[in-house]
Amino acid sequence: MIPELGHYALVLALALGLIQSVVPVIGACVRDGALMRLASTTAIAQFAFVALSFAALTTCYVTSDFSVATVYENSHSMMPLIYKFTSVWGNHEGSMLLWVLILSVFGAGVALFGGNLPETLKANVLAVQSWIASAFYLFILLTSNPFLRLTPAPFEGRDLNPLLQDPGLAIHPPLLYLGYVGFSIAFSFAIAALIEGRIDAAWARWVRPWTLAAWMFLTLGIAMGSYWAYYTLGWGGFWFWDPVENASLMPWLAGTALLHSAVVMEKRDALKVWTILLAILAFSLSLIGTFLVRSGVLTSVHSFANDPRRGVFILAILVLFIGGALTLFAWRAPMLKQGGLFAPISREGALVFNNLFLTTACLTVFVGTLYPLALEALTGAKISVGGPFFNLTFGPLVIALMFAMPFGPLLAWKRGDILGVTQRLMTAFGAGLAAIAIAFLIAGRQSVLAPFGVGLAFFVMAGAITDLVERIGLFRSPLAIVRQRAAGLPRSTWGTAIAHFGLAVSMLGIVCAGTWGTERIVALKPGQTVSLSGYELSFDGLHQTRGPNYIAQVARFSVRGGGVAIGTMEPSRRTFASRQTTTNEAALMIRGPNQLYLSLGDVNDDGSIAIRLYYKPMVMLIWLGAVIMMLGGALSLSDRRLRVGAPRPGKKSAAKPALQAAE
């Protein structure tokens, strides 16, 4: 009964979606308030029905109702409750349901918090949002119904893929989807603006909070996915340039560019056409990501099942939305009015620079991800494009971008003074140079490039601090005034500095862990000791433990650092009987920002066990930096002037320099 209820709720959501796709647009055309207001009601109702459908599926999983095909294929009665719950989206059908649930959350959000949007804009935005939603409801109902029944119902499920039986599954997909799908709002706003043929600074002010929220979730989602891969895959890598990872990085790059160009549009009424294009691209890349991951074009732990019909259906959605949006753009964009003038050296110029490099970097990732697929489709030759390709293409672009980053916030709008800014960045240059010197002193000539990477990271961090110091007049004005200025500084300015700082922290982690990490791969017998980078690990022995649905072989190691016992590490291998699969549970020991990483290999015939031991200096900074970036975004989002649904047209020109920055 419950699965049928969920199925029916989804059908109703589709019906509502179709109504919402058409009626508000007609309402906006003929200026009929009642027809336009219908969109808000149906958006909230859509959310209610999708939520009901999702709740129904969740109930099936939690109660282990194996008469439902997806539950049978992805669940097991012995699984801990949390995994019964998370396995709802640990498969293709359920994860698509989560996708539309989040889509409807955003739709209802616009309906509820978009109270002071112009009536026609709101109606059109919700209609476009509903086009996307209806396409995906259809996709689920026609090709990926999660509520299909099995007769007779099996007694026991086939269990969730053991790699997914991890707390990461509870956090990573929802966060990532909140990010992916959140860009749909920017997309809907862009399409609505093109339909109306009118766009102004207020538009950017409405779009920016949604984009910022999506960007925060995506940042955290990517970082979470990276950490999850790091500790479960057992080889200590945090980024593999896997197509599936790139699929999430591309919308992030486009979304970051969109955040920055929307600032120019909001403050200076310029870059309108470009901002619209970025809004379309960011969501298009999210759709491409969904296609790559869900269609079975790629093989990875993310592609759950291969059903060619699904790939074709998503491809059709992709062509329809991206093609349609770009056609509309080509037709309507030339009609949008041009914005204000600015010199190349100015805040706007710096933000254009940012956009140029971010989109180009995004393009290189796009080429690296899709070229192998295209080549195979056209010639049949199979190639793999991995780390070296991206280091050579993405790397230099990001380095140039990072170097320019501290300059941007310090430049004035319209016409900036590059010499003045360089002078103000002298301390930051000093910090960067000192970091390079220290890095060479400590690490020697082992790597020539890495110390410069460290220097660049410190330059950006010091640059972000300089920005704040300059604005509040620290070291120049009396403390009382400094405090007053700090309190008066817009939160979005703090957010900018903090987010830039966070990016540099991540970069520092990537450079250090990537360059100065050490590793040993050895076979050990009980009682033997291995040492690495000042740590000594002695292998105490193996024992077995029993988990709820697996048997674990646990190896116990005593760790000594600098001659003192500092704890034990217990990496294990779990064998899941239901799928005859083994997973590797690495043991991590956090030492400040550094980590010791230990994972197990095979047990050999002579009783020795193969281990991988890594020392990863500064590795924690990679994810810490992402969290800092997210916090910067949150601070910016809490800015009064940006509060969702409360945009007010900004005062022209009257603002003081300290209040101008709201990047």
Binding site: L148, L150, L356, F357, T364, V385, T393, D602
Partner: protein
Amino acid sequence: MTRRQRRLILIGGSLGVLAFAVGLVLNALSGSIVFFNSPTDVAEKHLAPGTRIRLGGLVKMGSVQRGGDLRIRFVVTDGKSDLPVRYQGIVPDLFREGQGVVAEGKIEPDGLVADTVLAKHDERYMPREVVDALKKAGRWKESDSGFAGEKMK
């Protein structure tokens, strides 16, 4: 500065960055991509020693020999041709004789010296490259794909 000049600078700058990026991509594509080959491809193509490839196929039954220091030798086969592989390190959990494997490394006169060995993720899934290589060699049975659930409409 006029609108026209400003636009020229903008377009010039964009093209500059784009050209730079295209240069980087072409440079990287010529140097750092790796082609996928089956043992038959390797036998037919006469690759120069030192060429990096990804090799896919099945681990031949009875071919795995383990040595000291985590050294391992095995033979990858697609049913038509075989290629010996040398590797030092820990092989993946699902590395087994008769199972699909992808090895990446340099071609040497006596076989492949691998620096990466990948196996499949779980029992349902086999690397697509391996499936294709086996299909090409005529050794693929649909039943090998593993999962076939009884679904009802």
